[in-house]
Symmetry: C2
């Protein structure tokens, strides 16, 4: 099986960074591209039209969530995921594996299948490589992901190897199960933070000849330095002519670092998740708009930002909306953060084409103050332990 109507055309490279266009049955996407997360078929609080206006070219849905609610059959009957959620552009879905493997959900794992409990009602369900592909085909998405097994960064070498080898066997089965030429299927490289395993995994997965490749198993509790090293190392093992998707990555500094290491696609719930806590992205880093010191600021959250929140409202008003727990606050903050990230992608694409991406990256990273590393890692490890175990 190959995917018709799906391709990557590279327009420019600058150092490791790549700018191009992915063609898909639902239109073209400029890369590098950030995919807002529509877990349950909706980017929280934002309409598809607003997503398009703020520059998103492709969104991500979660097979696990959509399978449980409203159900694959309902979405199929409603005309597929595009029609259901009112999004006309391309959609990528994850395989559902990441959620099914979460400690709270997983009931039983064998080479045949992962058996898991619904987080909604505790009922038992079963994903196989074959069914994960079939569900995504029935959703009608443009890019499907292979079922893979991901372990947290502090997992043993043995655990990482076992997960990687299972991921390889499953990738081959997904490849065989793939029936729809209107949809592309991406392979996922695992291997933790081991160069040896990453090489082994990249060789195996690229040997299966997928239309695109994901770097999985990162942003799961390792240090940023380890992650960047693995992205560089793995990226160089992937074919130049296929999209490279760095899964689960999306803080502004990681997007810049990922693009500089040759990644083309990213997804992360961070911009919308932190927005709902009042954390707004600016060129200097995140600010907490709820803080009393912003309550009388007449200017926008970010000077020069063209988003709905910054053009229409003062920072003082948005600060009030959060303190008063008004719905509009969540919405405006989400739109600002998504626009911030999309503009960052636009700027990177532009600077790759003009050949001064490194200057841009240096300027951006020099100015942007990331969240404290120790705090970030503690939080991430806790989150991962709860989700996929060690």
């Amino acid at each position: 099986m190959t995917a018709s109507g799906f391709s990557l055309v590279l327009n420019a490279t600058d150092g490791g960074a790549r700018a191009g266009v992915i063609e898909s049955p639902h239109g073209a996407v400029d890369t590098p591209a950030f995919m807002p997360v529509a877990t349950q078929g909706s980017v929280k609080g934002v309409t598809p039209q607003e997503l398009q206006e703020l520059g998103a070219g492709i969104v991500l849905g979660n097979t696990y969530h959509l399978y449980l609610r409203p159900g694959i059959e309902v979405i199929e009957e409603m005309g597929g995921l595009h029609e259901f959620m009112g999004w006309k552009g391309p959609i990528l879905t994850d395989s559902g594996g990441f959620q099914a493997f979460s400690l709270r959900a997983m009931a039983k794992l064998s080479d045949d299948a992962v058996v898991f409990r619904s987080h909604l009602d505790g009922s038992l369900h079963r994903f196989t490589p074959e069914s994960a592909v079939a569900y995504q085909e029935r959703l009608g998405v443009d890019v499907m992901m292979c079922l893979d097994q991901c372990v947290a960064a502090d997992g043993s070498e043995e655990a990482v190897r076992e997960a990687m080898e299972r991921t390889h066997r499953w990738a081959a089965r997904c490849r065989d199960a793939w029936k729809s030429s209107r949809q592309a299927l991406f392979g996922i490289v695992q291997g933790g933070v081991s160069e040896e395993m990453r090489r082994e995994s990249a060789e195996f997965i690229t040997g299966l000849d997928f239309p695109g490749y994901a770097v999985g198993g990162l942003a799961v509790g390792e240090t940023k330095a380890e992650m960047y090293e693995m992205v560089s190392f793995t990226g160089e093992l992937l074919p130049v002519d296929r999209p490279r998707y760095l899964m689960g990555v999306g803080s502004p500094e990681d997007l810049v670092e990922g693009v500089s290491r040759g990644m083309d696609m990213f997804d992360c719930a961070l911009p919308t998740r932190v927005a709902r806590n009042g954390a707004l992205l600016t060129p200097e880093g995140r600010i907490n708009v709820v803080a009393a010191r912003y309550s009388r600021v007449k200017g926008p959250v970010q000077e020069g930002c063209d988003c709905l929140a910054c053009v229409g409202f003062s920072m003082g008003y948005i600060s009030h909306l959060f303190r008063a727990k008004e719905l509009l606050g969540l919405r405006l903050a989400s739109i600002h953060n998504l626009r911030f990230v999309q503009r960052l992608m636009e700027e990177m694409r532009c600077r790759i084409v003009s050949g001064d991406f490194d200057d841009f990256a240096e300027d951006f990273l020099g100015r942007y103050r990331p969240t404290d590393e120790a705090a970030r890692m503690a939080q991430k490890r806790r989150w991962m332990r709860e989700r996929v175990g060690g």
Copy 2:
């Protein structure tokens, strides 16, 4: 004091119903008009631009809430309530009395003032007729309301009379305290469900010569029949050339009944409040979109509706958004209900002008199934007992 730049011009009457235009310093409003409720300076989940697009001409803010958070001084410093919330059209504020009188809030009542506790931090505050007007002047709103005392429908005749007489004394003090000619001050008629007291109150309040008049103390637990009778009776005692505002009323059937009895302005949180529970307004009555039977409906919530929710999304998708507790569901439902009510007002204005309002009212009321009266009253009385006592 008189209000410059504030007037009502009647264009047509049909039976008791009136169609006209209120001119205000922030523009004209077609009447009869429904005011969406922006308690804390935001109609929940909806932007000012969306409000304008769905046909709202004037919105209502709550002085009590805005006084407590973010504070009158903050809003004043931010350029007034219009500038603060980004709404360019006219704004009416209530006086804050209704909330301050709530059983949970009120600490002490005298002729001088109502002393109440903040629902936010329990701190003590004091509203006098003079300060209630001063706060509204500082908010910069177009229409201010006198401080009044409202009692629940099952209050004793003595309680109703005492509240009415205090309301009269306070109305005279509000009239004297009114300094800003750019803002109109409305008087409020009280008197419960007693024709005698309503007549006495209307005579007293209209004797003070306000730019507009409100019918207060209704929709507080009396039957619909009693309310309609009091609206008819009181409406006839008010001067023809001033706006008549029926406070706190806004279910679709009550809007039609109120307009047919000569009311020009209405406000109610109902369309947005019930929307957040998934109750959507249709010509046949409210439907609960969360119900499983709507999960595969491909058509819109209401055939022919031109709102964002109905034009862009299926009922099945909106049903999913509610079951999945997605923010977008609250937003789409609020927009649909507000548009439903605004379109109802547009239709009524049109049919008053064309002289067949009665046919319209009969058709609408024949088709629209209101919420069960007994259930509604039990709910309302419980709510009122918690809020303002008996």
